[in-house]
C-alpha cells in the first residue's frame, strides 16, 4: 500500500496548485509513490471522505492558503489530525500573503470594498449572508473571521515552504526528497525547517552589480528613464525588497528587470520582513535633514503594503489595529 498524499487550499488564489502541476513529468513520481487521498483542486473529494480517514493516516499534506474563514480553520485542524507531516505550502499558509493584507482593515470595510467597491459590478448590492433561504432549503456560508491567520497560528506545522508560488524547481526537489524518504533513501530534515528555499537573501542570488547605496530618490518604474541592465535596481531608485527577502527563487524578478516584491517572505534570521526592509532602506538613504529624508520617503506611498506585501499576517504586529480591534476582549 502506498502512503497517502493530500493537498488542500484554504484562502488562496490557486497558484500553488498550478505550481505543483507545473513540475511536469515529476508529478508522475508523486503518483507512482503516493496514493493521492485528498486534493480538491485536482480530483473529486468530499469532506466526509476526509473525515472517514483515520487520524495520522495521511503521510504528508501540502497545505496552501491562509486562514480567513471558519471553514479554513476547520480544514486546517482536520488535516493536522489526519496528517503525519503537515507542510505550510506557499506564502499564504506561511505568512498570509496577499489575503493577509486585509488585516490592514476591519472585516466590515474589507467586505464593503470587495462587494461594494468601484471594481465590483453588483447592482443589487448583494452581500454574503451566513444563511440564505432558497426553494431547495437553507444555504450556508462559513463565517469570515476578523483577522487572517497563518497556518502555524492555528495548528502546529512541521515544515515551511515559502514562495508565491513556490518555484517549480524547488517543488520538484521537495517531491524528490519525499519520494526518497518513502523509499528509505533519505531522512526528513529537522521538524520546523524551511524547505524548498535558500538560507540567504534574494540580493545574494541576484546577478546585478551592488555598490554602497546612496539613495536620493525612490520612483515608480514608469517614472524612471531606461534602466541600467546590470546595476542593482534599488540603487537606480526602484523599491526592491530583495534585501529583506529569503532566497530560493534564483532572484527571478530582478534578473529580468522587475524589482523583488518579497514573495519568498522574511529573510532567514530576521523576525519581521517589513522591519528588515525599513532598516535596509533607511540605511541606504543619502540625506540627513528631516525634510530631505521625508522628500525621499514620499517616494514610498504605501510603506505597509510595500514592506509587508506577503508577510503582514505573520509580522510582529500581524496587521493593523482596525482588524485586531474586533478580536479584543472588552
Amino acid at each position: 500500500m502506498k502512503p497517502k498524499f493530500a493537498m488542500y487550499w484554504a484562502a488562496s488564489c490557486g497558484g500553488c496548485e498550478i505550481a505543483v502541476l507545473n513540475i511536469d513529468a515529476k508529478i508522475l513520481d508523486l503518483d507512482a509513490n503516493f496514493d493521492v487521498a485528498f486534493w480538491p483542486a485536482a480530483m473529486d473529494a468530499k469532506y466526509k471522505d476526509l473525515d472517514a480517514m483515520a487520524d495520522g493516516s495521511i503521510l504528508v499534506t501540502l497545505f496552501n492558503g491562509s486562514i480567513r474563514t471558519a471553514e479554513n480553520e476547520h480544514l486546517a485542524k482536520t488535516l493536522r489530525r489526519k496528517s503525519k507531516i503537515l507542510v505550510a505550502f506557499g506564502s499564504c499558509a506561511n505568512e498570509g500573503c496577499i489575503p493577509g493584507l486585509a488585516n490592514l482593515s476591519s472585516r466590515e470595510s474589507m467586505l464593503e470594498t470587495a462587494y461594494g467597491g468601484p471594481s465590483t459590478e453588483n447592482p443589487a448590492q448583494l452581500r454574503p449572508q451566513p444563511t440564505s433561504q432558497v426553494p431547495e432549503g437553507a444555504l450556508t456560508l462559513p463565517p469570515v473571521q476578523p483577522v487572517v491567520r497563518t497556518l502555524d497560528q492555528v495548528v502546529e506545522v512541521d515544515y515551511h515552504m515559502p514562495g508565491c508560488p513556490p518555484e517549480s524547481h524547488q517543488i520538484a526537489a521537495v517531491v524528490d526528497l519525499l519520494v526518497q524518504v518513502v523509499q528509505g533513501r533519505a531522512e526528513l530534515p529537522p521538524k520546523g525547517s524551511v524547505i524548498g528555499a535558500g538560507e540567504s537573501t534574494v540580493c545574494d542570488e541576484c546577478p546585478r552589480e551592488r555598490n554602497v547605496k546612496h539613495l536620493t530618490q525612490l520612483r515608480r518604474i514608469q517614472e524612471l528613464g531606461p534602466l541600467d541592465t546590470t546595476l542593482c535596481l534599488l540603487e537606480q531608485g526602484l523599491m526592491c525588497t530583495g534585501p529583506a527577502t529569503r532566497s530560493g527563487c534564483d532572484a527571478r524578478c530582478p534578473r529580468v528587470g522587475a524589482p523583488c516584491i518579497g514573495c519568498y517572505g522574511v529573510a532567514p534570521e530576521a523576525l519581521d520582513q517589513g522591519a528588515r526592509m525599513m532598516t535596509a532602506i533607511a540605511s541606504a538613504i543619502d540625506a540627513k535633514e528631516p525634510e530631505a529624508i521625508d522628500g525621499i520617503l514620499d517616494g514610498i506611498p504605501d510603506p505597509a503594503g510595500t514592506f509587508y506585501k506577503f508577510s503582514l499576517a505573520h509580522s510582529l504586529l500581524r496587521g493593523g489595529r482596525a482588524a485586531h480591534r474586533e478580536t479584543e476582549t472588552p
Binding site: D55, K77, R81, L86, V154, V155, A275, P290, L316, L317
Partner: protein, 156 residues
C-alpha cells in the same frame, strides 16, 4: 479609569551621550516618571525597527529612542540612520493604526540630564493621553495530535 493608566514604555539609549544624560538625571536625583524601562545599546544606529515592533506587540504602550545629538554620534553618522528609520517606521505605524507619536526619538548630550528627565515626563504624559495600546497576544497554535515521525504503517 484613564487616570489609573500607567503607560509601559521601553526606552532605548546609546551607550554614550544619551545614556550619560539618563545617568546624570539619576545621580543628580532629578524626579521623573518611572514608566520608562531603559535598555542600553552601543548606538542609536543599532536600534532596529524590529525592537520597536516587538516591544509594541508584547505590551509596551510607547517606545522612546534616544541618541547623541547630530554630529556627536560616537560611530560618526549612525544617529542619522536612526533618524531615517524612525521617520519611516512612523509612516508604517500610522498605516497600521498605531499613533506615530507612540514612538518618540530624541537627542541628548551628557550635560542634559534635566532636559532628558523633562522629555521623559512629557512623553509619558503624551502616551498616557493616547491610552493603552493593548496589542492582542500572538495566537497559540493547537499542538500536534499525532507525532510527525514516520509511523510504520504509513510506509509501504
Amino acid at each position: 479609569m484613564a487616570n489609573d493608566f500607567e503607560p509601559v514604555i521601553i526606552g532605548f539609549t546609546c551607550n554614550w551621550c544619551s545614556y550619560r544624560a539618563a545617568d546624570v538625571a539619576g545621580t543628580t536625583r532629578l524626579k521623573y516618571a518611572p514608566n520608562v524601562r531603559l535598555i542600553r545599546l552601543m548606538c542609536s544606529g543599532r536600534i532596529d525597527p524590529t525592537f520597536v515592533l516587538k516591544a509594541l506587540a508584547d505590551g509596551a504602550d510607547g517606545v522612546l529612542i534616544t541618541g547623541c545629538h547630530p554630529g556627536d554620534c560616537h560611530y560618526l553618522e549612525q544617529n542619522y540612520k536612526a533618524l531615517r528609520r524612525h521617520r519611516l517606521l512612523q509612516r508604517t505605524l500610522a498605516q497600521l493604526g498605531v499613533e506615530p507619536e507612540r514612538v518618540h526619538l530624541t537627542w541628548a548630550s551628557a550635560a542634559e540630564g534635566a532636559i532628558f528627565a523633562a522629555t521623559i515626563d512629557r512623553f509619558v504624559e503624551r502616551v498616557r493621553a493616547l491610552g493603552p495600546l493593548r496589542w492582542p497576544a500572538r495566537p497559540k497554535p493547537l499542538p500536534v495530535a499525532v507525532a510527525p515521525e514516520l509511523a510504520e504503517e504509513a510506509l509501504p
